[in-house]
Symmetry: C2
Subunit: 317 residues, 2 copies
Amino acid sequence: MYFFEGPEKKVEICISNNLESLRNKPIDFWNELVAKAKAKILSSVKNQKVDAYLLSESSLFVFDHKIILITCGTTTLSDAIIFFLEHFSKDQITNLIFERKNEHFPEYQSSNFLEDFKKLNQIIPGEALRFGSKDSHHINLFNYHQTNNKTPSSNDQTFEVLMHGVPKSISRIFSQDSNIETIRKHLDLTDVLPGYKIDDYLFTPNGYSLNAIKDEYYYTFHITPEDPVSYISFETNFPFNGNIQKTTEKIIDIFKPRTFDLFYFSPVNENFKINFIGFPAIKKIQHYISSGYQVNFQHHLGFNNEVEQAESINIQT
Amino acid sequence: MYFFEGPEKKVEICISNNLESLRNKPIDFWNELVAKAKAKILSSVKNQKVDAYLLSESSLFVFDHKIILITCGTTTLSDAIIFFLEHFSKDQITNLIFERKNEHFPEYQSSNFLEDFKKLNQIIPGEALRFGSKDSHHINLFNYHQTNNKTPSSNDQTFEVLMHGVPKSISRIFSQDSNIETIRKHLDLTDVLPGYKIDDYLFTPNGYSLNAIKDEYYYTFHITPEDPVSYISFETNFPFNGNIQKTTEKIIDIFKPRTFDLFYFSPVNENFKINFIGFPAIKKIQHYISSGYQVNFQHHLGFNNEVEQAESINIQT
C-alpha cells in the first residue's frame, strides 16, 4: 500500500440560469455522479441556497445552477464531469473550471492532468494552464467558458489554502485516537466565518472532513494527517474582496504547516497582498482566465535554517 | 507524447578489491547491462584508471572494482543493477548506493523508488532514505554496505549539481540548431577542473551529454533543455574536500537555473558551507549513511519577487 493522496481534483460547473434548479435532481443522480469519480456520499447538510454533501473522498456542493465537486485520493473526477456533461447540451453549460493540484504519488492515479484535459477538450474545448513550476507545487487548470455568457458577479469569489507538512502535535488531533469534539474546537472559525451550519466526518484510521454552509456560502476542510505526506485543504466561496490576510493567518495558525499554496479566484482586479513573517511567497502567479476571473496563485514556504536528517523510508509502506 | 524526463537514477556498486578488474569484462557484458536499463552505449573514452561510456540515456563509468551507472528518461536502472548482482555472490558486493531524483512525470516510469527498494532489498538488504520533502525536490537513496568492509578513503567523494529551469538564452545553446563547438566552449571547465579528456554527444532533437576523465576522476554533464521541464545534471568524483563554492558558482553561471539541488558525499565530517546570493538553501539535510559517507543535500531556489503569468499547457504535448 501507499500513503493516502490528500491533494485534490476539483470542478466547478455552471449551467444556464433558465434551466430547472439542479437541487431538484433526485439523490440518485448525485449518487451516480460521485460514483463515477469512485467516491460516495456519506452525509449532507442543506439550506435555502445550497446542498452540501460530505463524500468518502471530499465534498459536493449543489446550488441551483452550479455544482462544485472536490475529490481526493485516487478518485476519477474527470469521469464524473463527463457524466454530468452528458445530461446537458453544450450550450447549457456556461462555465467549467477543472483544477488538479500536483500529487505526491502521480504514479498511482488512473490519469494525469494532460489526459483529463484531452478528454474534456473533446466535449467543451477550453484552455489549460499550469500555476506553478512542474518541478514544484503547482495547480493545473482547465477552463471552458461559453463566449456569449456574462462575466461573474462581483461577489463570486473562491479562496483555497492548500497546506503541506503539519507537525505531529497538530496531526495527532485528527487521528482516530482523537474525538470529534476536540477537532471541532480546534477548527473553530467563528471569529472569521461566523454562523455556519456544520457537517463533519472522522475517518478510520485517519482523516477528517468538514462542510460548513451559511446562505449561499460554504467552507470546507479536508485533512490527511499522515506523515510524510500530510495535507490539508481549506476552501470557501465567501467574498473576502481581497481581505484574506486575517482568515489565512487563522488557518495557518490552526495547522502550522511547513508550506502552503494560496489559490484565489476573484472577478475583479484585486490588490491581492498577503504577508507572513517566516513564510515568504516563493512563487507568485496572476492570470486572467477566459471565465472572467483573476486567478492568483502563491506558493509560501516556511523558512528553516536548521540542518535536518534524511527521512527513513519504511519497506512496509 | 510527453517531455523527456531529465532527472536521473544512479547506482554506484563496489566489489571486493581481490576480484578480477571489471575493466577486463568484455564489451558485451556492458552492452547487456545497459540494455537491461533500456539504454545503449553510444561511445567511450578510456584511460589507465577508468572506462567512461556515453549512453543513449546518460553514462556508465567502469573502474577496476567499481561501476557508476547513471540513466535518465524512462530507463529501468533497477533491472540493470539486478543483472549486475547476478554475476557476483553477495559477499563480493562491498557497497551499493542507488539514488533516484524526484521525477517530473513519475506516472510514465515503469516503477517508483519504493518498488525498486523492495526488489533490491530482497537481494542485498539495506536502508532507504529520502533527502528532501516528498512534496518538493528530493532524492531517494538506497544503501547496502557489507558490514565487515572498510570505510571509504578520504578522497572518495562525489558531488552532484542538479539544476531545473534554465532560461531560453541558455537552452538554445543545447538545441539541434546549435553546434558541438559552441556547446564545448560554453561548458569549458578548464579553470576549475583542468586537463580532462572529453567525450560528448548532441542528441536530436535536443539534449547533450558529456563524459570527461582524468586519472581516476570523472565529471559528466547531462542536459535536457526543453521547457517547461528543462533539467541539467553535473556530477564529479573529484575530491573538493568541502571547497565546492567555486566550482558550483561556475556551474550555476554556465546554466543560470531557477533552482538547483546539491548532493555531496564525503567520507569525512565536512564543514559543508556554500552560499549564493539570491539563491538561499530552502532545505538542508545531512545524514551519515551506513557506507560511511556524510551525505549532504541542499535545495537552493532563486528568489523572484515578480508576479508571473500561468504557463499555457499545449494539448499536442
